[in-house]
């Protein structure tokens, strides 16, 4: 007795359907991205008076965790106590909600465009593990610098830059200056 094999789609059709489901959709044109980002930034400034930001939100989440683990230390350290001293909840701040929104928005956009994928973007000459180590180290330096400057590329360069703050433009120049200065020495890492 022959078992009846169920009808299968033609191989070519199957491949196309799979590809459509898993292939990442292309990014939008940079100028269009910039216009959209500018509109979002303007909307924030216009409606709320505040711009965008990211490092401040991460800062408050870090301090929140610190406050859970070592509250008396937080109360004794001036920089931390301004955010979480006593009963103050460091998470109850607009920048934290912007940060949460950023995570959500990034995820949803990634999902819709089939770009949510566990992977490591790295230069062709570099191992995955080295990339991870450099990401952590670079992140640490970036995080430290961001709080020293009272804001990162989002808070200072982008938001402060658009309202023509002198300090923000100085910071923007310093960021690009620092990056380009070191770029030559790291060329094998990225290329």
């Amino acid at each position: 007795m022959t078992t009846q094999t169920p009808a299968r789609p033609l191989p070519r059709q199957a491949k196309m359907k799979d590809a459509n489901r898993r292939e990442a959709k292309p990014y939008i044109n940079p100028y269009l991205g910039g216009i959209l980002l500018g509109i979002v930034l303007f909307a924030a400034l216009f409606i709320t008076g505040n711009g965008l930001g990211a490092s401040g939100g991460i800062n408050r989440i870090v301090v929140f965790i610190q406050d859970l683990v070592a509250p008396s230390h937080v109360d004794r350290t001036a920089y931390l106590t301004s955010m979480a001293g006593g009963d103050l909840n460091p998470l109850d701040n607009w920048i934290v909600f912007i940060t949460l929104g950023t995570l959500l928005g990034g995820f949803v956009s990634g999902w819709v465009h089939n770009r949510v994928k566990i992977e490591t973007n790295r230069g062709p000459q570099v191992s995955v593990q080295l990339r991870w180590i450099m990401a952590f180290i670079g992140g640490a330096i970036m995080g430290y610098g961001a709080r020293l400057a009272r804001g990162c590329t989002s808070g200072q360069a982008l938001s402060g830059g658009s309202v023509l703050s002198v300090g923000s433009w100085a910071i923007m120049l310093a960021i690009f200056g620092g990056g380009y200065a070191l770029a030559y020495f790291l060329r094998r890492f990225w290329n």
């Binding site: 709320t48 939100g57 909600f97 770009r115 992977e119 670079g138 960021i175």
Partner: protein
């Protein structure tokens, strides 16, 4: 007029929802532009792909044009828009570190969030690293707080630095950005592969539109003090006429003793009068220098009450209008001015010795023989000594616009 007191409008959680939505749009746009991918970000530093420059500067120019256009049109009160205060040297030092962190790690904080959200493992490591770096900062900053708080130039914009109208800087920045985009496209052609998608034809139209808006902003100009006052004249004049913002000396003394408030007293009289007598801690702030002082006043915490005073009320009312036009919150006039203050708090000997027999309006009615400044009991009366009756009028406004925090 924008910006709005969104906590007042939508409540505490409503306001948080607004910020969540803004963040959502921010994250989505970053992701759509490819900024979840560290290779795309790093490529900027090798001139292979100038996406970072294009996105960043297009965003800055678009937001800038919209902000200054709506300000010029009287739709947005720029005084209430958060301008990050300039701390020059800590900013530059932090910026250099950020640049180094960027090229080593391949992200900035905002883009790393988006990357982590799309499960890029390098993004996740970067966020963890950034958290660690921020933690380190919190622990070490106490050892060089002096530097961290140095070179504070306050709310300081490029137009103010160059001494030109905002429109001039707006146009200059727009032109500079367009030039950089042209340069970037040349570099991409030389060092990288030119992605045809990155150069659509409509960009010329957009560039033209940007230039047009910049020129309009330049021509219309930002609102003058007079125009600012006109916008609120009717409502504010009513407050003045109803005597809603003139507070009795007793109320001022009461406010000075309130531990929950910061009181800033602006004495707008001549220097001579100020030196003859002024209330302890009152700042000398002649009316014509007031508009320069405004950015500093905006930077004060939300629990600040400003009290302007002259000898009677004439100059103080003038000053009050200037501050109201610049959207400074919680401003009040000392009712009856310094003269009334001395009426209430000076002792009998002072009054018999120094009181004038007749005085002009807004002239100091007590003339001590020497410039006493604030070295007099009447400059800092002891509240317990006096039985005062007055109608308290001060009500703290919820601060509109920035909550005085910028990025955290």
């Amino acid at each position: 007029m924008a910006p709005y007191a969104i906590t007042e409008l939508f409540g505490h959680w409503g306001a948080n929802a607004v910020y969540l939505l803004i963040g959502f749009a921010f994250g989505a746009v970053l992701e759509m532009s490819g900024f979840g991918n560290s290779m795309k970000l790093a490529a900027q530093f090798y001139f292979k792909e100038m996406t970072v420059l294009k996105v960043m500067f297009t965003a800055i120019v678009v937001a800038m044009l919209l902000v200054f256009f709506t300000s010029a049109a009287g739709l947005l009160d720029f005084n209430l828009v958060w301008v990050p205060p300039t701390y020059l040297w800590p900013g530059i030092a932090g910026g250099l570190l950020m640049g180094i962190g960027f090229i080593i790690g391949g992200f900035c904080p905002g883009t790393s969030l988006v990357s982590a959200a799309t499960l890029k493992v390098d993004g996740i490591f970067f966020v963890l690293g950034a958290s660690f770096g921020i933690f380190l900062f919190g622990e070490t900053i106490q050892y060089y707080e002096g530097f961290f708080n140095s070179s504070n130039m306050g709310r300081f914009t490029l137009p103010e630095m160059f001494g030109v109208d905002a429109g001039v800087v707006v146009l200059a920045v727009t032109l500079m950005a367009l030039f950089m985009f042209w340069g970037a496209e040349q570099l991409e052609r030389i060092f990288g592969k030119t992605d045809p998608k990155a150069a659509p034809r409509w960009r010329y139209g957009a560039a033209g539109a940007a230039l047009a808006v910049a020129l309009i902003v330049l021509v219309i100009g930002q609102p003058t003090a007079e125009q600012r006052w006109q916008r609120i004249a009717v409502e504010k004049q009513q407050l003045l006429d109803q005597r809603a913002v003139q507070i009795h000396p007793g109320e001022l003394l009461n406010l000075l003793g309130d531990p929950l408030l910061q009181v800033i007293m602006l004495d707008v009289r001549t220097e001579t009068d100020y030196n003859l007598f002024h209330i302890l801690d009152a700042r000398h702030a002649p009316v014509n220098s007031l508009s320069e002082a405004v950015p500093g006043l905006h930077g004060q915490p939300a629990n600040t009450v400003f009290v302007v005073m002259s000898n009677d009320e004439v100059a103080a009312t003038e000053a009050w209008k200037v501050l109201a036009a610049e959207s400074v919150p919680n401003i009040y006039i000392l009712e009856g001015g310094v003269n009334r203050w001395l009426d209430v708090f000076a002792n009998a000997e002072f009054k018999t010795a120094y009181q004038r027999t007749s005085a002009q309006p807004d002239q100091l009615r007590y003339v001590p023989g020497a410039a006493l400044g604030s070295r007099l009991p009447a400059a800092e009366p002891y509240e317990g000594q006096f039985e005062l009756e007055f109608i308290p009028k001060v009500q703290l406004e919820l601060k509109r616009g920035p909550s005085g925090g910028g990025c955290g």
